[in-house]
């Protein structure tokens, strides 16, 4: 998978300059696990007239990219169609992760099937994702992260900017 490179954050006043080895206190392996195990993901998209829109989604971490589904005519779906730049945020008790990336609709059958199976297994919900996705008004979307930020309670020790090779 795409293993990102750890960088030091540059914001002033948080002690980031004291981080000796970026990515060491909270390694990517652990961050990926947090992303994978989160339940709700906040998806931030941009409306056509330039306002941010935030909504929670369920999602699956699929080997370095995030898969989720939504109605194609939802605000999320409409926004992504016009502007694919998105931010995804997840918050654990122990740490938070922010993904900055590009979203696009998935049309490849194999990925859609994998997403449906993984969602039913992860969320143990009463519905059936395949059935939901049989409705062509619903779409599966993938977020390719370009940059990720992660940090735990001890911000100055753990905050890391991750850059993905693209």
């Amino acid at each position: 998978m795409n293993e990102p490179r750890a960088k030091r954050l540059t914001s002033k006043g948080y002690g980031f300059e004291n981080v000796k080895e970026p990515g060491q206190a909270l390694p990517w392996e652990h961050v990926a696990k947090l992303i994978s195990e989160a339940r709700n993901y906040w998806l931030v998209t941009a409306t056509k007239d330039g306002r941010p829109h935030a909504a929670p989604v369920w999602a699956i971490w699929d080997d370095g990219r995030l898969l989720f589904s939504t109605a194609r005519n939802s605000r999320k779906g409409i926004n992504i169609e016009a502007n694919p730049r998105v931010v995804v945020h997840l918050d654990h008790d122990q740490a938070a992760v922010i993904l900055d990336g590009i979203a696009e609709r998935v049309t490849d059958r194999e990925t859609i099937d994998r997403y449906a199976r993984a969602t039913d297994a992860k969320y143990e919900w009463e519905g059936d994702m395949n059935e939901l996705l049989a409705d062509e008004n619903n779409g599966v979307y993938v977020v390719h992260p370009h940059i990720a930020y992660s940090y735990a309670e001890d911000l100055g020790e753990t905050a890391t900017r991750w850059e993905f090779p693209h």
Binding site: N40, W42, R51, P52, A54, P56, V86, V87, I98, D100
Partner: protein, 149 residues
């Protein structure tokens, strides 16, 4: 209905007091803004609700958040409390502490942190959306509030 803090129109089940409780209970809400190049930006912040005004928060005027808001004041803030989810959308403006009664006290009570110097930001809400995430309650609890400016 004059001012902020009272929903002008409610199409749902949750009372606005529920939303205020969620804001109060959520220690680390997140603020979404727009970068000038059209990319959304997101950063967790500390924030409190102040009746008749909106959501108050403080950030350095040199931060990305502030720079974005100075160019484009549209913003969204979201809050979580267990399975309770709330999004507040609106327009942010800079406000002096003297014009923002209640902010410093509320902030101190919530975060045990005294803000003694302004200005700070206030998000004047235009709409809010809340729901409780459980299998059976979603449709029943999903509530949209609209605010009159």
């Amino acid at each position: 209905m004059p001012g902020y803090g009272i929903a002008g129109e409610i199409d749902g089940a949750l009372p606005w007091q529920w939303a205020k409780d969620v804001i109060d209970a959520c220690r680390n809400p997140a603020l979404a803004t727009m970068r000038p190049d059209g990319r959304p930006h997101l950063m967790p912040i500390w924030a409190v609700w102040v009746d008749d005004h909106g959501v108050g928060f403080s950030t350095a005027i040199t931060s990305v958040k502030s720079k974005n808001l100075l160019k484009n004041p549209s913003a969204a803030l979201y809050f979580e409390r267990d399975r309770d989810n709330l999004v507040v959308e609106g327009t942010a403006e800079i406000i002096q502490l003297d014009d923002f009664p209640g902010f410093v006290d509320t902030y101190k009570r919530k975060y045990e942190f005294a803000i003694d110097e302004g200005p700070v930001w206030v998000l004047r809400p235009t709409s809010a959306f809340g729901f409780i995430e459980t299998d059976e309650d979603f449709a029943k609890t999903a509530t949209r509030w609209r605010f009159e400016g």
